[in-house]
């Protein structure tokens, strides 16, 4: 766009300029507040999600641990006492364990893959538990089974801790968002200060000083008959007022001459 076209588009009314200037300040304040609010809301939702995820992990891990413990207890009963009634407990808890794992996988929680791997190994090892318990294969229980059991327990505990471990970077993200919630206000206040100084400077230059100039020039003309020449440049209504005064004086002088 050509410069002279921009000049033509320029607002002439001083009142309009002042209004736009101060409305601009209000808009800036509102906008920066909105940005701060958005970031604050983000902090809120992040904190909530951290708490919810942590709670969910703990609950799931607790369920998994209970199920494995119960299964182990049932197996011990079958091995030591030959009590086959515990078979139903074992089967039920296996189903519980499997369901809990599926639920955790659906939620895509961190660290669940290692639990899944340990669980698969555990089910593979304890596949023939009925036969093993019937023949009293304690060697299998104390070596193969015990190893798979402990691996699974360790994986579940690690999973339980995973949400706590993930807290560090997430707390940093919250800190980052807190920074982003505060900084807009600080920077906006700084910019508003600059704009206010500019507005004051331009209002003084193109508003107050021009009126003073017109007043002085008019006073000099009326008092001492010095030719009216205020020399106003401002592309605003004071410049227009100045040119009208010049026109008025010219007309008055014309009438007097006639």
């Amino acid at each position: 766009m050509k410069f002279d076209k921009i000049n033509k588009l320029q607002l002439k009314s001083l009142r309009g300029k002042v209004m736009i200037g101060f409305l601009g300040l209000v808009v800036l304040l509102i906008f920066s507040s909105v940005v701060s609010l958005v970031e604050l809301r983000r902090i809120g939702s992040q904190t909530q999600s951290i708490l919810a995820e942590s709670n969910r992990n703990m609950t799931l891990a607790s369920e998994l641990l209970d199920a494995v413990e119960d299964q182990n207890h049932a197996l011990q009963q079958m091995f030591l006492r030959g009590d086959i009634s515990y078979d139903t407990v074992y089967s039920k808890r296996l189903t519980d364990l499997s369901e809990s794992l599926t639920a955790a996988q659906e939620q895509q929680t961190v660290g669940i893959d290692s639990v899944q791997a340990a669980f698969e190994r555990y089910t593979e090892v304890s596949k023939f538990y009925r036969i093993r318990s019937a023949i009293g294969d304690t060697e299998w229980y104390s070596s193969d089974y015990a190893e798979a059991y402990h691996t699974l327990i360790a994986a579940i505990r690690e999973y339980m801790m995973s949400s706590q471990v993930a807290l560090g970077p997430r707390a940093m993200a919250i800190e980052q968002n807190a920074y982003r919630a505060i900084t807009p206000s600080v920077i906006t206040i700084g910019v508003i200060l600059i704009i206010v100084i500019m507005l004051w400077y331009f209002l003084d230059m193109y508003g107050v000083q021009t009126v003073v100039k017109v007043n002085r020039a008019l006073g000099d003309y009326l008092k001492y008959g010095i030719r009216y020449n205020a020399n106003i440049k401002g592309n605003n209504d004071i410049e227009e007022l100045n040119s009208r005064i010049e026109e008025l004086i010219a007309r008055v002088e014309d009438t007097n001459r006639k």
Partner: protein, 477 residues
């Protein structure tokens, strides 16, 4: 001096900055990253700051030399300051001093960065970084001048400060055409470079960003490993070509494209400049091959030529770890960093024109000793050079050397080794951005270094004397 007029022109530059911030915000929105609000707010704040003087101050005034100078320097300083806003608002690694460093490095087309992991930075902010290069490359004020139709005097007043003094002498066109030529060449090169990079295998985002960097001879990349991350010979070739083109006088490029007589093939300076790249590239290739750093000579030549082109154009793209190179190759790279591109281009450094003149002055001095009564004149591109031009060139070379020394002393006081301090000083003052000797990078440098280095960048970009005048405004008649 009429501050209101200066503020009006600076207002246009602020509006241009705001426009690029909003484009960056749109990029951020497109990629769905976290820099949307910081960029949006920065754009609105910058736009508001620029709009106030334009709203109040009437246009159409002629400007004086002093006012023209203040517009240029004021616009640079203000752009560097408002350019910090998106970084500060986004946070992350951008503390106050880091944002200052990144912003000045962008606008001065230095390309040094404090970022350790560039891929972790949102794409919108990366686009803003590259935009600062692009705006800085042509000179923030150039943009303002294109939208200002004020004729003749105004434009030359500003261009004489913005473009190096030698550049002004080389132009064979009317002053009111200069700005349009600059913009035409600049935009065309950016568009062509972007398309070629896309065809070579980059995605649009990387292509645009690297094109902005290459044409502005900046050096910001979208990858931590810089251009080396792409491992693509075509990308390197395209970037090297556009870096070299951008380091040649824009008027000469325009003359070459439009078939004018004073084209780049007839330019003594351009021939010297391209020759120096080839020689330095060969030195690096032979040196690194003999050191056994690369398996084949072809590979060594590819890397050597690219690094020399990157350094002599003061861009600072990297494809390899040059810190493992031997001292001969390092010296060739250091010479390239100090020399820089041709006057009237976006490149920094001493400028090839002045180096050619310096060689000619040396030759003249030797001849003069043999024939004390002979009148020996210096010619450049077939034209006799006035003694004032030659004197200014020599004064600049001496001042440049002094500034490098001062910078090196300050860096050394901050704990840098000798070679690291010299390298950091050359990288900052020459707007190279890339260090030839390892000092651990600016990201791990002390806070004062990250504050002082941008000051050197501004000295280099405003050709030392231009920046010094800022402190002598009151005595300027």
């Amino acid at each position: 001096m009429r501050i209101n007029i200066v503020m009006r022109y600076m207002g246009y530059v602020m509006l241009l900055n705001a426009a690029f911030m909003l484009v960056s915000a749109a990029t951020s929105w497109y990629f769905g990253d976290t820099a949307l609000y910081p960029l949006l707010l920065s754009g609105v704040l910058t736009g508001a700051m620029g709009a106030v003087p334009i709203m109040f101050v009437p246009g159409g005034e002629k400007i004086s030399n002093k006012e023209g100078y203040c517009i240029v320097v004021g616009s640079w300083m203000m752009s560097c300051l408002v350019g910090m806003m998106p970084y500060l608002l986004w946070g992350g690694e951008f503390t106050l001093v880091n944002a200052w460093f990144e912003s000045v490095s962008g606008y001065t087309t230095t390309g040094a960065s404090i970022l350790k992991d560039i891929e972790a930075v949102p794409k919108g902010l990366l686009f803003w970084r590259s935009s600062t290069h692009w705006m800085g490359g042509i000179g923030v004020v150039m943009f303002a001048l294109v939208i200002l139709p004020s004729i003749g005097k105004t434009k030359m007043t500003i261009s004489s400060i913005e473009i190096s003094n030698l550049a002004k002498d080389n132009y064979q066109y009317r002053s009111n055409v200069i700005m349009h030529i600059l913009l035409w060449v600049y935009v065309s090169m950016t568009v062509i470079c972007t398309v070629l990079l896309k065809v070579a295998g980059m995605n649009w985002f990387d292509a645009v960003n690297h094109s902005f960097s290459a044409v502005a001879t900046g050096g910001f990349s979208t990858r931590t490993a810089s251009v080396g991350a792409f491992n693509n010979g075509w990308v390197e070739l395209i970037l090297a070509f556009f870096m070299l083109m951008s380091s040649i006088h824009y008027g000469v490029i325009f003359a070459t494209i439009t078939g004018k007589r004073n084209n780049m093939f007839r330019s003594e300076v351009v021939r010297y400049f391209l020759g120096s790249v080839v020689v330095c590239g060969l030195v690096c290739a032979i040196s690194t091959r003999l050191d056994g750093l690369y398996n084949t000579f072809g590979e060594a030549l590819r890397v050597g030529l690219f690094q020399c082109a990157s350094l002599v154009t003061t861009t600072g793209f990297v494809t390899t770890n040059i810190f493992t190179w031997g001292s001969v190759a390092v010296m060739a790279l250091m010479f390239s960093s100090i020399q820089g591109g041709c006057a009237g281009s976006t490149a920094g450094g001493v400028k090839a024109d002045r180096v050619v003149l310096a060689f000619k002055v040396l030759k003249m001095r030797i001849k003069q000793q043999q024939h004390p009564n002979a009148v020996i004149r210096i010619k450049l591109n077939g034209q006799l050079q006035e003694s004032g031009v030659v004197d200014y060139a020599m004064q600049f070379v001496v001042s440049y050397a002094l500034m490098v020394a001062v910078g090196a002393v300050v860096f050394a006081l901050c704990g840098f080794s000798f070679d690291g301090a010299v390298s950091a000083s050359v990288a900052s003052l020459g707007n190279v951005g890339m260090e030839v000797c390892d000092f651990g990078g600016f990201s791990s440098a002390p806070g004062f270094v990250r504050f002082f280095s941008p000051v050197l960048m501004l000295f280099g970009r405003l050709e030392i004397f231009g920046f010094i005048q800022l402190f002598l405004l009151s005595t300027w008649k």
